[in-house]
Subunit: 126 residues, 2 copies
Amino acid sequence: MTTSLPLLTTDESCHCAPVTAGVMDVEDAQRLAWMFKALGDPTRVRLLSMIAAQSGGEACVCDLTEPVGLAQPTVSHHMKQLVDAGLVTREQRGKWAYYALVPEALAMLSAVLDPWPSRVGGNSSC
Amino acid sequence: MTTSLPLLTTDESCHCAPVTAGVMDVEDAQRLAWMFKALGDPTRVRLLSMIAAQSGGEACVCDLTEPVGLAQPTVSHHMKQLVDAGLVTREQRGKWAYYALVPEALAMLSAVLDPWPSRVGGNSSC
């Protein structure tokens, strides 16, 4: 997908109309699809889980390369897609880039996929 | 992605170790990425929301073409990807195909993305 979407801010990402609540407009669908597409790769799913497993939900790129068995440029390329989708933030500290989860974005995706929002709390995570 | 993964059954799809709970193994990551990739297209997100909006969470392909403004073969192609990912079932009734959501698969994806599983009920949707 080459469509360029703005990075999500916390407020914008907290857009919790469930996929299962009715027909979605084109703009919302584009925003969601962009985020799901970033998750549509096994390496990126694993990278996200590795960041989440770190203390504080943050990881140095130097700690991500060995577990996935890929060179740092390749890992950085995957991470850029997660950053562009608003699922992760990136901060440069000296030589290394550090990545942290954006819990609000993950919570929003979780909420829109929930087929029983009233049963498990629905939008309460926003 | 050309990797062929088996269709998910209800039991298999209820695999709720959150993405945010630790490092995910390769097989789980492949299964999740396959499902997220199916959602990584705005038309498929809208089709899913349209099916969810129908009474009983089921829709005839004949009712899906006009709202997305696409020909039936194109809609059927998109729907096949949602079916292959285990997010939707397909049933042929006479001339028309009918599609229904797989709530357990959506609930599983919702659960794995939940950054605060203990706060909103976590695996209770399984």
